[in-house]
């Protein structure tokens, strides 16, 4: 297990981050209640409708928010270890890039970049090497899952190249079928 790092704030002081969690829970509860208030009830004689459970959840979330706030104010929340922010940025950045590129560049390019950025987040790896292995592995994965297992994975230039290459190979080995012979 990882040893907890020494925290600058001593115990029994208000834990502001945990108070923020409490505020988040309260906001979530309010959101659920507001959303439920817009729903119609399930008919005149149904005493329990689509609103009932959301209201119950909202009340419980509010109660848990208060409980969390009390524990936070008393400093009873477990202390948190020091976090490195840079790796998080690399990985989240990779996921965002993948999200942005997947429709246009296809699965292999988008996922290859995610692969390289995640690897970079975990340590000093050479970016060109990581990108190259990312593209190759993603392309192989695309081939297995999209062509053999028939999963719908977005295709881009690399994928089209593979489809064309496969066709070319097929005609090369089967001369009757294509004009290549």
């Amino acid at each position: 297990m990882i040893e907890p790092m020494a925290q600058t704030t001593p115990k029994r002081r208000p834990d502001w981050a945990a108070l923020l969690v409490a505020a988040g829970l309260l906001a979530l509860g309010a959101l659920v209640a507001w959303d439920a208030s817009r729903l119609g009830s399930g008919g005149a004689y149904a005493r329990i409708g689509p609103q009932t459970i959301p209201y119950a959840i909202a009340v419980c979330l509010a109660g848990l928010a208060v409980w969390t706030a009390i524990e936070a104010a008393l400093g009873e929340f477990p202390q948190r270890e020091q976090q490195d922010k840079l790796p998080i940025l690399w990985i989240v950045g990779g996921l965002v890039v993948q999200m942005a590129l997947i429709k246009f560049a296809g699965f292999s390019i988008a996922t290859g970049i995610l692969f390289a950025m995640t690897a970079r987040g975990f340590g000093r790896v050479s970016i060109p090497k990581a990108l190259l292995s990312g593209f190759l592995i993603s392309a192989a994965v695309w081939f297995v899952f999209a062509r053999l297992l028939q999963l719908t994975l977005p295709a881009g230039p690399i994928e089209r190249l593979m489809i064309e290459g496969a066709k070319l190979l097929a005609t090369a080995f089967n001369p009757q079928a294509g004009p290549a012979a």
Partner: protein
């Protein structure tokens, strides 16, 4: 037909070559992910759900069960050789197992873990086969109110009864329940918590949430720890075989571990790790060599390893007979059944006996495959532990996003994956448990349906929940499971409960 005949019929299904192949793929993958730190059986099944959408239901479910069993085997290897448990049910194994490996007795430690897992898996699977029809007979009398009460009990035991804080367990559960109401209300057709976004009308996908919480949240968390924990893999030195004294000291803990683990898995009482703690405590008390505990006592590996495999089989009892998941892996397996339009429960045993008994029988075969896979081939798995972290986690994220893209190639779904991944990271940072979120998401809507059905029958009278003896008992148990640990913690007796913190599986 009696159980024995049904089991034989199941064996004939499980022994079909294609199903044998699915089982082999499942146990191999399961062992691999059990060995790798960072991903557990729950994540793997979640990753594979979208991939298997087009495959045969029986085959996929056989594969998922193989992954669950395999994860239990593989986790022990990591615990023993790396001192970092591959999944939460192997935490106790690390206590004695890693000490044994450091003393050059890694071979016997791995052997007693594998053989203990085999013995426990065999006995517990047979117990599952004989117990299931019995529970089914009992469950046929269950109405909506009994199911609702049972689910309330499961909510409490999964979130609040164990772990180090009632508050944090309940917060996780309610986050899951909140996500569960997103989408169209089945009875009135109204959209809840969807804010006019069409992608949300179908609700939050269990697989997206599970993959994000487990795979992405864990990756972010591990990355943020930097290079704080240097890890060394203990090489397996000397003989892999157990000597006569190892056998003599192992066989009783195997049986005791099985007896402890199976009922704990079968009751709606959380994951497999709880049984391992009880088994460890029991072995420590009964051992003729108590001085060896803490320095590599073989009983401390044999008992808990048997217990966690027996629990895994036990978990399948409420899952198959009642449709009630009591661990994160079981919750995702339930999503797997639903993907094929199958609802586990008493009716499945009559409507689809081939599938149910084929699944149970395939567990016996999977268990046999696992011992072959884990003893002679141990060197192969050890090599997995030497994959450098950057490549390991880059690969995990590749497959995590592959599952989501394959299920629904939309940018919105990838956005949800990122948001829930960050949520999973935040929950880990603040020491909130993860499993209750997943269980809340899948079980919440089911509990709501049952409650509304029960109240529709009673015309809105909540008293109906307490007039059935079964549901009143279950609700009373749930109240006890909520209040007793709370009182124990306030009075400073919570150490044992804190140790039983459930997490990844």
């Amino acid at each position: 037909m009696d159980t024995f005949a049904l089991l034989m019929q199941g064996l004939s299904v499980a022994a079909q070559p294609i199903n044998l192949l699915y089982a082999l793929v499942g146990v191999t993958l399961g062992t691999a992910v059990g060995v790798l730190p960072g991903i557990g059986p729950a994540t793997t099944v979640a990753l594979l759900l979208p991939v298997t959408y087009k495959l045969d239901p029986a085959g996929s479910l056989i594969m998922f069960a193989g992954i669950y069993y395999g994860g239990m085997y593989g986790g022990s290897t990591t615990s023993i050789l790396l001192n970092t448990p591959g999944e939460s049910a192997s935490i106790v194994t690390a206590l004695e197992g890693n000490k044994m490996a450091k003393a050059g007795r890694g071979g016997p430690a791995l052997a007693t873990a594998a053989i203990g897992s085999f013995v426990a898996g065999l006995i517990a699977t047979i117990a599952l086969a004989f117990l299931a029809p019995w529970v089914v007979k009992f469950a046929l009398a269950f109405g909506p109110r009994e199911y609702f009460a049972l689910m309330v009990l499961a909510f409490v035991t999964v979130s609040a009864a164990f772990g180090d804080s009632t508050l944090r367990g309940l917060v996780s559960l309610f986050i899951g329940l909140t996500l569960g109401i997103v989408g169209i209300d089945l009875q009135t057709g109204q959209a809840r918590m969807s804010f006019g976004i069409p992608d949300l009308l179908d609700g939050v996908e269990v697989t997206t949430l599970a993959v994000a919480m487990f795979a992405i949240g864990e990756t972010l968390f591990v990355a943020a720890q930097g290079k704080r924990a240097p890890e060394t893999v203990e090489p397996v030195r000397g003989s892999l075989w157990m000597n006569a004294s190892d056998w003599a000291r192992s066989w009783k803990p195997w049986l005791r571990g099985t007896i402890i683990g199976f009922p704990i898995g079968a009751m709606p009482a959380g994951g497999a790790e709880i049984g391992t703690f009880f088994s460890y405590a029991a072995e420590k008390k009964l051992s003729k060599h108590p001085e060896e505990f803490g320095n590599g006592a073989i009983e401390g590996v044999a008992g808990p390893e048997a217990a966690n495999n027996a629990s895994a089989a036990g978990t399948l009892v409420p899952l198959l007979t009642l449709g009630l998941p009591t661990s994160a892996t079981a919750a995702i397996m339930l999503a797997g059944f639903q993907q094929y339009g199958l609802q586990p429960g008493p009716l499945l045993f009559t409507s689809n006996p081939q599938l149910v008994w084929g699944l149970i029988a395939s567990l016996l075969i999977a268990n046999l495959m696992l011992i072959v896979l884990n003893l002679p081939l141990i060197g192969l798995w050890v090599r997995l532990l030497t994959i450098p972290k950057p490549w390991l986690y880059a690969g995990i994220l590749l497959f995590a996003t592959l599952g989501t893209i394959g299920a629904n190639p939309s940018v919105f779904e990838l956005g949800m994956l990122l948001v829930f991944g960050l949520l999973g990271y935040g929950l880990r940072l603040f020491h909130f448990p993860i499993a209750p979120v997943v269980v809340g998401l899948i079980l919440g809507p089911m509990a709501e349906q049952q409650l509304r059905r029960a109240l529709a029958i009673s015309q809105g009278d909540f008293g109906v929940l307490f007039t059935s003896p079964i549901s009143a008992t279950l609700l009373a148990l749930a109240a006890l499971a909520l209040v007793v640990p709370l009182v124990l913690r306030i009075r400073g007796r919570g150490q044992l409960l804190a140790q039983i913190a459930s997490d990844a599986d």
